[in-house]
């Protein structure tokens, strides 16, 4: 890492202007880490903006520095603007507008172990629970400042990507970083209120419809639901305020695999899968052209939802077979 560190110092020294990018359908870690990086660069006297294919979603309007986020423009920035990618496992997930620029990111900072290293400099820590933690450790190593607004953003990234310090990869180090970020200005209760207690009543109504219609099968080892456009219409919820409700299904001890299907536009069905540990849902997703991690994976398919459901259930049942007493 020594080498990468001096390369990053050189990169930042050599440029006046920076663009920070993260992945499509951004989550708290994508927004938080990219905003934090832009804020740190500005604290160093640089110009920095955050581009996102999808812009800023309504769930994250509370993030300090949110005015730095713009939709990724069609035209590439000048050649002397450095391009920094965070929290994005593949080049493609940086979004179509970025791909059209035909540029290689100068820095690729991520915590997805599957990241192939598509940047000129690559800082990838697949053990880390969040890109926010990777960036915080980088700032420490570089002895760069972390302004309070950056700390708030990093805290949001860390909190959301660890499911509030619940997921695997949450270590003593994660809590040490959280302690530092709170000391630097993050407010845990406020961040959690923004992230977990700021839904619309429409989203709540969608959630109760979905939970009411969720099905359990294979001796309650599989739970799933189908999020239809009808449910959105019935409840008035917006798709950009709904990540998924799989965490709710996973509260049940017997549930080894939870999944959801969603009808998207243009005949595309999205599926999202979660495993408790025994089943590798990445392997299952791969059979339908999807991917992710062992415990969390996604699929985009041209199969109709009912057919994808049937095929997924068959694959999951087969995967559970060896674990059947």
């Amino acid at each position: 890492m020594k080498d990468a560190l001096s390369q990053i110092k050189d990169l930042i020294h050599a440029h006046r202007s920076f663009v920070v990018l993260s992945h499509i359908r951004p989550d708290g870690d994508a927004y938080g880490t990219s905003l934090a990086l832009a804020l740190v660069l500005r604290a160093l006297g640089k110009q920095a903006v955050v581009y996102s294919q999808d812009g800023l979603s309504r769930n994250y309007l509370f993030l300090p520095g949110k005015e730095l986020i713009e939709r990724t423009p069609a035209f590439a920035p000048p050649a002397d603007t450095a391009i920094l990618a965070v929290d994005t496992s593949t080049r493609e997930r940086l979004g179509e507008s970025f791909l059209a620029w035909n540029r290689v990111p100068d820095l690729n900072l991520d915590h997805h172990a599957s990241n192939p290293g598509y940047g000129k400099i690559n800082i990838i820590d697949g053990e880390s629970p969040a890109s926010a933690q990777v960036l915080y450790e980088l700032l420490e190593a570089l002895d760069y400042p972390c302004p309070p607004e950056a700390a708030v953003n990093l805290y949001v990234g860390l909190m959301t990507d660890t499911g509030s310090f619940r997921f695997r990869q949450t270590t003593a180090r994660t809590f040490e970083v959280a302690a530092d970020l709170v000391t630097l200005g993050a407010d845990p209760a406020l961040a959690s209120q923004h992230c977990y207690q700021s839904s619309s009543v429409e989203r709540f109504n969608l959630q109760r419809e979905v939970l009411g219609a969720s099905r359990f099968t294979c001796g309650n080892r599989v739970a799933y639901y189908h999020l239809t456009q009808d449910l959105y219409a019935k409840t008035g919820a917006h798709s950009d305020e709904v990540e998924n409700f799989l965490e709710q299904l996973q509260t049940v001890a017997t549930v080894e695999v939870a999944f959801m299907l969603e009808d998207l536009d243009k005949g595309v069905t999205r599926a999202s899968l979660r495993s408790r540990g025994k089943i590798d849902v990445n392997a299952i997703a791969a059979k339908f052209g999807g991917g992710g991690h062992r415990l969390a994976a996604g699929i985009r398919s041209s199969l109709p939802a009912a057919e994808l459901e049937r095929k997924l259930l068959a694959e999951i049942e087969a995967a559970l077979q060896p674990f059947t007493a």
Copy 2:
């Protein structure tokens, strides 16, 4: 605290046998802190058991050292057995069996600011988010060992009483303590799987019934539900695996007050209230003989649920009045 510290050292030095007690309807902090204290005492070569009026609830069967928990016996322990109370805001909440002993606890360790200090030695830190944190800091100050099993119990107390590091009073210090406990042997993902992903499908079915029947009123600023014996019968859920579902109602941004009513045996109605911040639900609960904190309070009433509901709604509406634009 210097004085209290040497008093505690003397207390532990002077006794060979200890009973640790916590409050009725124990939660993760009550079980975790009392078990941790007993395990530390045993590591010091002492005899120690944990008494609980309600015994061990099925949700906490995973706690290491759980075999130390017994139902509080009718007869008091010998006079030379020291009695240590943890996480219990009033003497009465230690349970009827304890009250019949007619003994004063030698130590009263708690984080409830309202604790009147009913012990011979009182260690009360009303700023602390959990009794587990108070005990951990005491162990540090005393330079006592914290075996791995004790660390797991303290972590469970800290995690559950902070709502997974979300509630107010979660500070940098809380995260430092969490980091230490993980270093000492606690596993965050495992603890969270035990506490948040180990429900029965019956509990899930009760939850979806409850959410489906929850009502929103006062411009969605109040949300509530009524947990009837019929719902328990319909779903087969056990009351000892159900704390409450108010957290779900509090996900809605507009909800200032969430409350639930439950029919208990013998014509008793239980109510539980939560506030987002503006409304003091402790003051409302006090009008019905209940109490708690500003943001979380409870009531036990002989009023029928429908009548308590009507009266509570009127009080809450009046309390919201000053905040109506």
